[in-house]
């Protein structure tokens, strides 16, 4: 059974910074990462022999430093390992997919850095093949060095759509259009204070130049209404603020409504010096502020753990940077505030994909005088019950429940998901084998 001071879950920017800092502070560190390479979604590495997609020099420099620091740090990395949770005896459970075993690890502290997931709103056809998250298309591009094939439509909200479109244009297949519910170019938005983070302006300008240079229409104040099957692929209907509708026939649709913490079901934070183990979260899974903030927050988490484990207090410049990035995100949220009201979504629309539950199913379930809790909606209606553990439907289900019951207390995603392990599907045989390791041998 592996033993260490700190087990870091996730090898993205937050996890890498946490591992490097914890190790510099004298702690023994191990890391689990679900893929065979480090970097997370933001720094997803290209496969061997492939030319990486173009990136800004500052992003390349950050990766270079992070990976160099990581390779110098005496951190044992377990690749191909999936985090399952912390069991009732305080052991960390993970599945080592390379050998097909569940491992119980005794760590004094666990730093969870599982990153973010993308928000996707339910619309008819969001569950069709060819429809993915926009970030899903982006990481695939980073991995393969190639743009997704065919005609692509990007739709939703926020700056990631522009970034993905620019990268697609740079590798030779710009999207046919970007559908954006906000309108960051509308008058009256200057002086919002983006100068708190000048790098964001530089980044935005670079991406916009690539998008406009490739002639990609940026349809602001517009929403995607639905996606249907079409003889030549998929037909997406787009509604403009003035009610005008247009159709796009494409091969792929990338949806994105911003990011949220990938925190569904995670073990509770336990950050007292007496906690066994200490459990803290770092980076986007704690607060979704993006990769630069994740790095800072990872280092901060490591300092906190070191202090709790009696390795002394230390300070870096992380708090100040996080403050500025938090302000910058608030400005971006204002810039991209939707300028078109949400559209009506028909009852047949899939809400929970894993269990095949629709918006109409939820309406039927919550109709009536008794006020069902999030937990009841999960157990009786199977919403958020499936293999994704509600990562893509719990927030949407909670929001719709709140809207359907005006006056009732609002429902949040964690009312449905709760805190539980295993966080990912795992074979019962592997779990039983792991339990046996613990049994006394006498």
């Amino acid at each position: 059974m592996p033993k260490c001071d700190v087990l870091v879950v996730g090898g993205g920017p937050a996890g890498m910074a946490a591992a490097v800092t914890a190790s510099q502070l004298g702690l023994s560190v191990e890391m689990i990462e679900q893929r065979r390479t480090l970097g997370g979604a933001f720094f997803r590495q290209p496969i061997e022999g492939v030319r990486p997609i173009p990136q800004r020099a500052s992003v390349k420099a950050r990766w270079h430093k992070l990976s160099a620091d990581m390779s110098r740090a005496p951190v044992r990395i377990h690749y191909g390992c999936v985090f399952l949770g912390v069991d009732s005896d305080g052991f960390v459970l993970f599945e080592d997919r390379q050998v097909g075993e569940v491992v119980r690890c005794a760590a004094r502290a666990v730093i969870i850095a599982t990153g973010a997931i993308e928000k996707v709103h339910p619309i008819p056809g969001w569950d069709r093949p060819g429809v993915s998250t926009a970030g899903g298309l982006q990481v695939m591009m980073k991995e393969t060095g190639q743009a997704p094939k065919g005609r692509i439509l990007l739709a939703g909200n926020g700056p990631l759509l522009i970034a993905a479109a620019a990268q697609m244009a740079m590798v030779g297949n710009p999207p046919v259009a970007i559908v954006e519910s906000g309108d960051p170019m509308r008058p009256g938005l200057t002086g919002l204070g983006l100068l708190v983070a000048p790098y964001l302006l530089v980044e935005a300008f670079g991406f916009l130049r690539a998008v406009y240079g490739a002639g990609v229409p940026w349809l602001r104040g517009a929403r995607i209404e639905g996606i249907e099957a079409h003889a030549q692929g998929l037909q997406a209907t787009v509604v403009r603020r003035n009610g005008e509708r247009s159709a796009f026939v494409v091969d792929r649709v990338g949806l994105h409504e911003g990011i949220r913490s990938n925190d569904m079901g995670l073990p509770a934070i336990a950050d007292a010096s007496t906690s066994s183990p200490i459990v803290i979260r770092a980076g986007d899974c704690s607060e979704p502020l993006g990769a630069l903030a994740a790095e800072a927050d990872g280092a901060l988490a490591a300092r906190k753990v070191a202090a709790l484990l009696g390795h002394g207090q230390s300070r870096g410049g992380e708090q100040a940077l996080l403050g500025r990035l938090r302000q910058a995100q608030a400005v971006l949220a204002k810039l991209f505030a939707p300028t078109i009201a949400p559209l009506d979504v028909p009852d047949h629309t899939t809400l929970c994909r894993c269990e095949g539950r629709t918006i109409g199913d939820l309406k039927n379930l919550v109709a009536g005088a008794d006020l069902k809790s999030g937990r009841e909606v999960k157990h009786n209606g199977r919403f958020s019950m499936g293999s994704c553990q509600g990562r893509f439907c719990a927030a949407n289900t909670a929001e719709l429940m709140t809207r359907l019951r005006p006056g009732a207390p609002p429902v949040v995603a964690s009312d449905l998901t709760g805190q539980r392990w295993p966080l990912r599907p795992v074979s019962i045989a592997a779990l039983v084998a792991a339990t046996k390791v613990k049994a006394p041998v006498d």
């Binding site: 496969i47 069709r128 093949p129 695939m140 997704p148 990938n262 994909r353 894993c354 499936g386 293999s387």
Partner: protein, 86 residues
């Protein structure tokens, strides 16, 4: 580059070293990975192992196609009736 391949429903799919099963299937124009236990089709969606939408059976084990590196000679199949929920 390598000329290795794995089998998707018995058909050889070429892949490049280090590539995920999902990337190789997408490159081969395969967007639907078969029926899912919940009803709809299984397919690539989030790319980060979170959504469980791209589950396939690889040499008998249910795995996320977006996380699992392609391996020469592997048998990759749709989730069959055996994976349907009870």
């Amino acid at each position: 580059m390598s000329s290795e391949s794995f089998f998707w429903m018995g058909k050889p799919i070429p892949f490049r070293a280090g590539e995920s099963v999902a990337a190789a299937l997408e490159a081969a124009g395969i967007l639907s990975f078969g029926p899912a236990p919940g009803g709809g089709p299984t397919r690539y969606f989030c790319g980060i192992g979170a959504c469980q939408c791209c589950l396939v059976r690889i040499d008998g084990c249910v795995r996320e196609a977006c996380l699992t590196p392609a391996c020469s000679g592997a048998r990759v199949e749709e989730l069959g009736a055996a994976d349907a929920k009870v």
